[in-house]
Amino acid sequence: MTAARVGIGGPVGSGKTALIEAMLRELAEAGIDTAVITNDLVTDEDAERLRKGGQLPPERVRAVQAGACPHTVIREDPTLNMAAADRLEAEFPGLDLILLESGGDNLASTFSPDLVDFWMFVIDVAGGDDIPRKKGPGILQANLLVINKADLAPHVGVDFPKMLAEATEVRGGGAVLPTVCRKGEGVAEVVGHLRREVLFK
């Protein structure tokens, strides 16, 4: 069976890389063989952060530089990312999962189904409780919406249960999971969701 390809998108600073770092621990414990592709504008910043984190051998973390609009390489022309994923699968037979992190963006990014089998969108509480109500395509169309930094709600004047309820409502009941990636909270639920919906193990 080929490796599942899972996209992770969301605004700058929402916690996409932090979510991956936290997920890698859970995935390793579950015996899920994983590799990561990061997308940055003109650097390998996120890939370097993951390599330094040491949770994956450095050769299992690949970087794609989008050059400009980060949407383009995950939606209109995802060939760079598809080629990177193909190379990882060829080099690491038995790979279960390839995580593809998009470059940080606004609320409009979506992944092409030609590139990924499943994608999640990460927003954070500190970005404001009005984000779900703004109904960006990322919020509405992602297979899973993750609301990160839930612990900051009292400090930034956010009614978190209300934000969670509004997010679920605008998504028509689609999956929404809260996390505090920095503390690892809620990450087991995200991994559990992936195991059921796309990893099948």
Partner: protein, 157 residues
Amino acid sequence: MTEHPLSMPLMLEAILGAASEPRWHDRLHALEHEGGLEFVSIPEADAARKRMRVTTDRGRDCAIALPRGQSLTDGAVLFHDGGLAIVARIDGAARMRLIPETIDDAMRLGHWCGNLHWKVVFGAGWMDVVLDGPEERYRDRLRDLAGLARFEIAGAE
């Protein structure tokens, strides 16, 4: 509570053929009479995905995990063991037809829809927008264009 897979789904890992092929038609027809033919309905917007968890029309839990080189099409046979067959049905997405008045209007309309990243299908003098969500959401975006380009909105055929 941690969400873990509760039970293993029936794995569908290859497209075995097309229901319309003569060699499959007779086999599936026979199974249908014996109650051994089940269908999975997949929205057109998801048909390009290689992996997804689905439930057949008879409630069977399945997981599709196709090789990268295979693509889901309407009538794809995903499982057959002599007593049970599972066939994919691709649910056609709703479409909204846009008919520009002039070439100038067509250019503005095409540029607008491109900026919105809409999936479109071109025809002679028209463009169908493939709707991935309520039609009203698409009409809202077109209202902003009303003063800039002349076009008609019609239902797709």
